[in-house]
Amino acid sequence: MDVLDLARTQFAVTGSLHFLFVVLTLGLAPLVAIMHTRWARSGKPLHEQMTRFWGQIYVINYALGIVTGLVMEFQFGLSWSGLSHYAGDVFGAPLAMETLVAFFLESTFLGLWIFGWRRLPKWAHVACIWVVTLTAYASAFFIMVANSYLQNPVGSVFRNGRMELVDFFALLTNKSLVFSYPHVIGAGLFTGGMVLVGASAYQLWRRTQDLEFFTASLRTGVVTAGIGILVTISFGYAQFAGVAEGKFGNSGLAATALGLMIESGQYLALVVLLGMWPLVRSLHRRRWAHPILMVMTPLPFALAILGWIAREVGRQPWMIWERLSVADAMSPGLTSGMITTSLVGFVAVLGLLAIVDYVLIARAIRRGPQRLALGAAADADEPRSPALSY
């Protein structure tokens, strides 16, 4: 592989890893916020357990979302400085909004939510998870604004050798954005719903002691997955109005990924909407269905990656559609040695951490909602040391 292929591989691998965790964050954040709100209103132990259990899955998943995201943000400067030279005045604005406002608030309020248990007033604590949800969605929005600019460069003119921003509003109403953003959000909800479904099916299959807990989680998951896939599919088809002509004509990989995503997405929608939705009240008793539901859990993740492959590989050889090629966007002077070293470092470290994270999530699901670390009372599992010992 030459330097360009290596740099593209690095972005593709780290970006895909990042999105695997982001897509679940987008799905779980609103669910945890709703669970927390219900707990604050009802005070029921079941709602507290749901908030803490799914909240814990959410934050374990979030850890990898952060660390993979850091690598993404800095990669623009490391490998693709040609992009900021050519279009930084335009492309940089939504990225700055994402990091400076949306993610800044998301991270600050997530810290308050995780460590504010039993410290913050009840409703202030609930407000934190809602701000986290809102800013996560704002983050996704600004990232999609930036990405849509690459797909369809609007709102800017070419002046003095660079792209200059003339109409920010045009960036926000980009025809490549207005349907793809809801498509991504739908995919997030579908993924979040299916994780609730898969995890609950596993516990029910094992004849869990927490029957009420996982029955409720299964129902929430089925309803959410149904809403999610409806949104995903309708906005998925609507997107074709905004796709550049010839986008999927010259790339075998992009067209294959697109076809595979659409085909399997449709079958999944049939299963969810015609199979799971009508059975939502009784699915927890139907043991024959539980292994099927478990096997379905990874599918939304795979489809999400296929979607990004279609969108990003389909854009090749352009970094900015018909304006700037990826070859011209690559940092001048980037050598094969530099990119190989960083590629090996990032892929090895992030890949291993991703595996560890998934093992931890699987383990948290297997342990169930007893003895949760998130929101645990002080000294719940520590040997109590006398105050005078230090």
Partner: protein, 254 residues
């Protein structure tokens, strides 16, 4: 407008050093003050509620760099290529250590991730010193320069001192000292001193390379209205987790 955004950029970068400086400092001190697992738990629990609110300042710095100084973003990050890669990997390992250390119960599991926190904090602190030196010399100096290494040692030392001051403020007496909030403020300013000096020197260059007015106007219109919320959220973090009874709650999530 260029001056306003320079102030924002400088405040974010200096704020990162003053705030994340003590998290990295506590990480550096883990092998020194945290000989027992209980002490390491207390040290991590002391900084845990601040980490997410502190490290995000650097994410905002990078975003601002892209939005306000697009011509410099590639130059700076690419000019520091090996350092930036090393810093990212250190940062990732430090964060992974914090998130993972308490997810399993085993002694070796927690010991391994505690080592990653210390190792990542050291790598990040040390490379910051080298990066400041490289930036001050306009990326012309060789990758490893004696003065850069010296600055790496200085920055790591300042962070360690700041981390110790933070522990003495938040957990009075537990790690051998009791310090006031004012002392913590002073050590924070000391931790930010090297980067403030660099920013002061680079000011004319940064101002000359700002994004055009149209971009800065959009950013001002979109970002500045949120400034009070962002400041308010940070203040809320400090009010919620201030020292006092129950300052270090165990078990902490990290």
């Amino acid at each position: 407008m260029e001056i306003l955004w320079f102030v924002v950029f400088a405040a974010l970068l200096a704020g990162y050093f003053a705030l994340e400086g003590f998290d990295l400092g506590v990480g550096l001190l883990l092998p020194v003050l945290g000989r027992t697992r209980e002490n390491r738990d207390r040290m991590v629990a002391a900084m845990a509620p601040y980490v997410l609110a502190n490290e995000v300042w650097l994410v905002a710095v990078a975003g601002t760099l892209f939005g306000v100084y697009p011509l410099l973003e590639g130059e700076v990050l690419f000019g520091l290529y090996p350092l930036v890669v090393a810093m990212l990997l250190s940062w990732v390992l430090r964060d992974a250590g914090l998130w993972f250390r308490r997810r399993l119960d085993g002694r070796r599991w927690r010991g391994f991730w505690d080592a990653m926190i210390a190792f990542g904090s050291l790598g990040l602190s040390f490379c910051w010193g080298m990066a400041l030196f490289a930036a001050a010399t306009g990326f012309e100096s060789p990758a490893v320069h004696p003065l850069g290494v010296l600055l790496g040692v200085v920055v790591s030392g300042l962070f360690a001192l700041h981390g110790w001051m933070f522990l003495a403020w938040r957990t009075p007496g537990v790690f051998g000292g009791t310090r006031s909030g004012r002392a913590l403020l002073v050590s924070g300013m000391a931790a930010a001193l090297p980067v403030v000096a660099l920013l002061a020197g680079a000011m004319p260059y940064l101002l000359a390379h700002s994004a055009p007015a149209s971009t800065l106007n959009v950013l001002s219109l979109m970002a500045l209205p949120f400034a009070p919320v962002m400041v308010g959220a940070q203040v809320w973090v400090w009010r919620t987790f201030r020292p006092g009874k129950d300052a270090v709650r165990l078990p902490s999530f990290f």
